[in-house]
């Protein structure tokens, strides 16, 4: 993955470049906003990491200009400006993510990996169960030709049930996959999310897909097909 780093703080840019190279990425950096815009428009990158407070050109203006030149490279803003209005503005202008400084290194790497995963698939991955289709890459869910909007956790839950279709999955397994946490057995977070998912996936359709297996967990039943 080739990353363009636009950061005016030389020391920070140096260490970020080093860390990304250690993680296996190819990095080009610049501390000048105008130069960075030129590079982004003329070369091909898989990801741009952009600071906002740049000399010469404001990061928001740079982003606006890139998008107006139809440069579709995914862009993550990394900035010490942490107000909601800055975050909202950045995302509205076309950034895919916004990381506040000082940031946790592992978190930056995790967010880069998410983008890498999306970029690396050439064909779409789909799981189809009966009349339900889940587009793994695009995170789209369609049932009976009707698109269903899910929250991030609802999508993860459905994807987990779908990947384990026709198998019973326990509450604990669901908690570990969806939330990567184990909660106290008295928690009903899984029940609540299953209910909310059922309201969107099963309610109003000809037949339910999600079933409860009392004492054991949940199961998504139906004829399964996977397209890679």
């Amino acid at each position: 993955m080739k990353i363009l780093l636009i950061e005016d703080e030389k020391n920070l840019a140096l260490f970020v470049e080093k860390g990304l190279q250690q993680a296996g990425y190819s990095v080009e950096k610049t501390n000048d906003g105008s130069k960075g815009m030129e590079m982004a428009a003329s070369e091909t990158f898989d990801l741009i990491l952009l600071d906002l407070m740049l000399p010469g050109i404001n990061g928001f203006d740079l982003l606006k200009n890139l998008r107006s030149f139809v440069v579709k490279t995914p862009l993550i803003i990394i900035s010490a400006l942490s107000n909601t209005e800055h975050v909202v503005k950045g995302l509205d202008l076309g950034a895919v993510d916004y990381i506040k400084k000082p940031f946790d290194w592992d978190e930056l790497l995790a967010r880069i990996r998410v983008i890498q995963k999306k970029n690396s698939h050439n064909s779409s991955g789909k799981i189809t169960i009966e009349d339900l289709t889940i587009d793994i890459i695009g995170r789209k869910v369609i049932r009976a030709e009707k698109e269903i909007r899910l929250t991030a956790k609802e999508y993860l839950l459905l994807e987990y049930l779908a990947r384990n279709a026709n198998r019973i999955v326990s509450k604990t397994q669901i908690m570990e996959y969806v939330w990567e946490l184990d909660f106290d057995p008295g928690s009903n977070i899984v029940e609540v999310h299953i209910y909310q998912l059922r309201q969107k996936i099963d309610k109003g359709f000809d037949f339910p897909l999600i079933e409860t297996v009392v004492g054991l967990g949940y199961i998504l039943k139906g004829e399964k097909e996977i397209n890679r």
Binding site: L12, V16, G19, N83, W105
Partner: protein, 435 residues
């Protein structure tokens, strides 16, 4: 009696009262003048009739005119020697009436001596007229009061309207969205002066607000950037295979210190922003479960180090747990509550988080934990800034609950804390005012 607080009501009352008082004074004077005129005319009439009767009376021959219908009189003759002789006296019942009713007393000199007459006629007609005038004045008074109130109300509304416009515009002033200045009226009166002063004040406030925003942006950048460099540098060095074990130990301690400093800088910057009233609220749909589980996931290390567990309950399980709120601020409030529970719970205990849909558009989030040994917080001090119940070594600035409370106020939420039987409870009430 209720109090009138508005200028318009006061102006209306003052006008109506003043007008009514003036009216009453004029009417009283008018009424007495009317009455006096009527009685004077009546007396003149009686005087004329009495004179006529005296002129028609003679002693020698004795001649006395008889009373006409309604007339009642008594004539007495006094000669020059003081002898008195009653020439005409009415019957006893009429004589009594003569003394009681309104009458006049006239005297006339004649060649034989002096004649005097006591004369009266019924005044029923006059009394009736005066009563009629009373009714008219009373009716006019009621009409006047109504008119005074109506005119007073209309006048005060007309006068106060420009002031109300200024108030409405002032209330709608939102410096975050660059509100327009007030439009100056054409006249050259005090109202124009008021609006011009207000506009100058708005400009000064906007200037200060812009300066503050610039300051916070700069302070944020200048403080956070070097910390970011240190944190990133240390994290990269820790991942570097060439770093020795001894060096890694030092870097880990330094990283922990840097992270603490980052947290403190964030708290202080936030505190300054809150104290300056500079915060904007940007509402979006927030999933409470996602926010809470994200916070827990980001503090997984502390959770696992102290062997803590979370019990998350939703009541009812088919309720709605999304709110329309500023996600950033909501995250900070819940982050403070949950990280406090991680710090102050005994090891290997369970922290309870209860999300309850109390009614439509009202959700509460309760974070409940036992208090670890040695910590004795004072409930009245918890929301005060810089209060540590017992300073945990190197942890926190003491601003957590203060910040959470202030952010709740800005977001129109309510944060309540309580301690009972060594259990700490923080409950955040959220109202879902969707626009």
């Amino acid at each position: 009696m209720f109090q009138y607080k508005t200028l318009q009501a006061k102006a209306c009352i003052y006008f109506a009262s003043g007008f009514t008082l003036l009216w009453v004074i004029c009417n009283i004077v008018l009424y007495y003048e009317f009455q006096k005129t009527i009685w004077d005319n009546f007396d003149k009439q009686m005087s004329t009739q009495a004179s006529l009767i005296l002129n028609s009376t003679s002693i020698d021959p004795r001649l006395v005119p008889l009373p006409q219908s309604g007339e009642n009189f008594m004539i007495v003759y006094n000669d020059f020697y003081g002898t008195s002789d009653t020439l005409f006296v009415p019957p006893p019942e009429l004589l009594n009436k003569l003394q009681l009713e309104r009458h006049i007393h006239l005297e006339a000199e004649i060649s034989e001596g002096k004649l005097s007459i006591i004369y009266s006629i019924p005044s029923d007609g006059i009394d009736k007229s005066i009563r009629k005038i009373n009714y008219i004045f009373s009716l006019a008074f009621i009409v006047e009061i109504i008119l005074a109130v109506v005119i007073g109300y209309w006048l005060s509304r007309k006068l106060i309207r420009p002031v109300k416009n200024v108030i409405e515009l002032a209330d709608s002033t939102d410096l975050q969205n660059n509100t327009l200045l007030l439009e100056e009226p054409k006249g050259k009166d005090e109202l124009k002066d008021l609006i011009m002063s207000f506009n100058r004040m708005l400009l000064r406030i906007r200037e200060q607000s812009d300066l503050q925003k610039t300051f916070f942006a700069s302070a944020s950048h200048e403080l956070r950037t070097p910390l970011s460099i240190m944190q990133t540098r240390l994290q990269i060095l820790l991942l570097d295979d060439e770093t020795t074990a001894e060096a890694k130990k030092i870097y880990e301690e330094q990283l922990a210190d840097v992270k603490r400093m980052v947290a403190m800088v964030n708290d202080f910057l936030l505190m300054s922003e809150l104290q300056n009233g500079n915060m904007q609220v940007n509402k979006t749909e927030c999933n409470l479960s996602d926010i809470i589980t994200t916070i827990i996931a980001r503090n997984k290390e502390q959770k696992n180090n102290r062997n803590l567990n979370f019990k998350i309950s939703f009541i009812p399980s088919d309720g709605s747990f999304t709110v329309n709120a500023d996600e950033d601020k909501l995250y900070m409030i819940l982050h403070n509550l949950i990280t406090n529970s991680l710090k102050y719970s005994p090891a290997s205990s369970v922290i309870e988080i209860l999300l309850q849909e109390i009614k439509k558009n009202h959700i509460s989030i309760c974070v409940k934990n036992d208090i670890r040994e040695g910590i004795t917080p004072k409930i009245s001090m918890l929301k005060k800034s810089f209060y540590h119940s017992k300073p945990l070594k190197g942890e926190g600035s003491g601003l957590g609950l203060w910040i959470a409370n202030k952010l709740s106020e800005i977001s129109n939420f309510n944060l309540a804390v309580s301690i009972k039987d060594n259990t700490f409870e923080a409950t955040l009430h959220l109202w879902n005012n969707c626009e």
